[in-house]
């Protein structure tokens, strides 16, 4: 009698423990992330000049080979026009310029002229700001909203790399120096990258909040250096020697939320996590152009490779690759906006959405 009571007690305990386990520890099955095609548009039928009617939804810019233009998130191609020589392109404006440019017009995506700038050199746009590189590659001017020169800075050697946030523009120089300028052109950061046999700056990135500056610097050995603004000065907060030996401009960029830094390494993309200071590599084919971003789920999206062998890769971590699609195209671009990926492939633009299903 007593024995059967004990047995019942044990069985009841097991059942209760099982119920408790399901109530406390059980997790719902995770939804799978899927890449859903939303629309695809060919550029062949797109208008070849800007239309004056504004598009519905967000507008994104693109450049595919010698063509550029704008499209809306809903799939309306505003125009696809040829680039005669040079192009400065942003989501809200563009400027075409000649080889020996003495001035240029800055226009909106609908083609209306914002202003004409009379200044020698080549324009380039970043972080909502408009700059002009001087004819000797050793001076930069910033334009104000009416196209006048706000400031000019002459560098001691030629500019080889650049990164910007709304508050800080950083220029990497051939002599191994990084010079950071604020919105008035005042020097607020100066860093000499040492430790390598040959000084030089091959790539620069600035976090969207302007507090972190990263650079690929030097040869023999090459290194990645990350500077952080503490109080009013930028100090080295992290660095690592790289196996790379790049002697050309290097792709390096912070993700749009500023939490991660992505940079080219041989055989992949290096990732530096700002908060955890973790550093890892996502294996990818040798890359000479990268689309770098992160979506709302913290997934890294990149377009790696060169010429006809590119890959679209979405990865949650170095060992968890969610998507890896080969792309055969001579010209590509990638733009990421939240969970939407806009992929340009030669004559077509495709919108792909990352969704949980």
């Amino acid at each position: 009698m007593e024995e059967s009571g004990t047995k019942r007690l044990v069985i009841s305990g097991i059942i209760l423990a099982g119920i408790a386990y399901f109530l406390i520890c059980a997790q719902p099955l995770p939804k799978e992330l899927a890449l859903i095609p939303v629309w695809a548009r060919g550029l062949a039928d797109a208008p070849t000049a800007p239309a004056s009617t504004p598009a519905l939804g967000d507008v994104h810019s693109f450049r595919l080979g010698d063509k550029f233009g704008y499209f809306s998130s809903s799939g309306n191609i505003l125009f696809s026009a040829p680039v005669p020589y040079g192009l400065a392109l942003a989501s809200n404006s563009y400027a075409l310029y000649d080889k020996d440019s003495t001035g240029f017009s800055v226009r909106t995506p609908t083609g209306s002229e914002l202003f004409k700038a009379s200044i020698l050199g080549y324009p380039f746009f970043a972080a909502g700001r408009r700059f002009v590189m001087g004819p000797a590659q050793d001076s930069v001017a910033e334009l104000d909203s009416s196209g006048h020169r706000a400031w000019t800075y002459e560098f001691p050697s030629i500019v080889t790399a650049f990164g910007a946030s709304p508050s800080l523009a950083v220029f990497g120089l051939m002599d191994g120096n990084l010079v950071g300028l604020d919105r008035t052109g005042k020097e607020v950061m100066h860093f000499s990258s040492g430790g390598s046999n040959i000084p030089g700056i091959y790539g620069v990135a600035v976090s969207p909040d302007g507090k972190l500056v990263a650079a690929v610097a030097g040869l023999e050995k090459q290194r990645l250096v990350v500077l952080e603004k503490r109080y009013s000065a930028y100090r080295v907060t992290w660095h690592r020697w790289l196996d790379s030996d790049f002697r050309r401009p290097v792709a390096i960029s912070f993700t749009s939320d500023g939490k991660r830094l992505m940079y080219e390494v041989p055989g992949g993309v290096g990732v530096f996590e700002r908060d955890s200071r973790k550093d890892y590599t996502i294996a990818a084919s040798t890359a000479d152009r990268l689309g770098l971003s992160v979506n709302d789920w913290g997934i890294l999206v990149l377009l790696s490779g060169s010429q006809d062998s590119r890959r679209l890769i979405c990865a949650a971590s170095p060992d968890r690759r969610l998507v890896d699609i080969p792309i055969s195209a001579s010209e590509t671009f990638i733009t990421i906006d939240g969970s939407s990926i806009y992929l340009g492939v030669d004559e077509d633009i495709v919108r792909l959405d990352l969704r949980e299903e």
Binding site: Y122, F124, G185, R248
Partner: protein
């Protein structure tokens, strides 16, 4: 006594050896100064160091050439190759396709405006004469050829390449095209104005060096400009180095002048400011190129 004589003669021998060694080192040092080769065959100068060109002052030498290969001026190592229209970050290159090569003695040479697609970006170590690319006109340039700039990494400044490259045959002295006294909105050209009101004037000179190049980036700068008024040297500008500091590029090692203060809007050199008082003033100028060809000019001005 004998010992003292022997010591003296040993001392003399040592001194002689030291002098000989010093001379040898000096000769080797001087040799090293001209140890580089021209990057193209039969170079024709389209701009010299300091030439005022559109939107800039040339901090190297521009060489006009219709076609041909660009070769390394010395042994070295390729440090940077740029053969795209823009960097991944969207930075454009007004130097077009270019290469940077590290040469001995911490000299980095920039070979710019090369033919797109011709830059030998696969190189690492290079020998003197190694092909780096082909001449071109990529980027912002006035003509077909090559821009060669040399950066002294130790001193952090651009160096006049003509001081490091073999001399070119040059039998022509620079030309002083005009000199003017500029005060307020008035300008008095020396040689034309008989008298000038007393006051403080800036002395501006339009100077160019001769060249047989088919195009130029601007009036070629001489190597030295000297200016004296009434026997007092007011300026002696030697176009040897250029360096940047505080966001401004300056020329000259001995008396640095920011570029913005060196040139007028039309490209003339602003040499000095001087107070001219009543009487007769003698203004003397001499200009010289790197080859040593020199031109002197003197003006006598009546100050009223």
């Amino acid at each position: 006594m004998r010992k003292a004589t022997s010591q003296r003669s040993r001392g003399k021998r040592l001194a002689a050896w030291l002098v000989a060694a010093g001379l040898l080192c000096g000769a080797l040092g001087a040799g090293a100064l001209w140890a580089m080769d021209w990057p193209v065959e039969a170079p024709k100068l389209a701009a010299t160091f300091g030439t005022p060109a559109a939107g800039r002052v040339v901090t190297g030498v521009a060489i006009a050439a219709q076609n041909g290969l660009v070769r390394s001026i010395d042994d070295g190592e390729l440090a940077f190759a740029f053969d795209e229209a823009t960097t991944p970050s969207g930075l454009p290159s007004t130097l077009g396709s270019f290469a940077v090569v590290e040469h001995p003695n911490d000299m980095a040479a920039v070979y710019a405006h090369l033919l797109p697609g011709s830059v030998s970006d696969y190189l690492t170590k290079v020998k003197r004469g190694t092909i780096l690319g082909s001449v071109g006109s990529s980027g912002w340039t006035e003509g077909q050829g090559l821009l060669l700039e040399i950066f002294d990494r130790r001193k952090g400044n651009w160096v006049n390449p003509l001081l490091l490259l073999p001399s070119l045959p040059d039998g022509y002295a620079p030309t002083i095209r005009s000199v003017a006294l500029m005060g307020g909105e008035k300008s008095y050209a020396l040689g034309e104005a008989k008298s000038v009101p007393q006051g403080t004037y800036e002395i501006a000179a339009d100077i160019t060096d001769a060249t047989d190049a088919p195009w130029t980036a601007g009036p070629l700068a001489p190597y030295v400009i000297r200016l004296s008024v009434d026997g007092t040297e007011l300026s002696r500008e030697v176009f040897d180095v250029a360096f940047g500091k505080g966001g401004r590029l300056s020329l000259f090692s001995s008396s640095p002048r920011p570029l913005s203060e060196l040139r007028t809007g039309d490209g003339r050199y602003l040499l000095a400011e001087h107070l001219f008082t009543r009487g007769r003033s003698i203004i003397e100028m001499s200009v010289e190129d790197v080859a040593g060809n020199r031109r002197d000019a003197t003006w006598s001005v009546s100050i009223q």
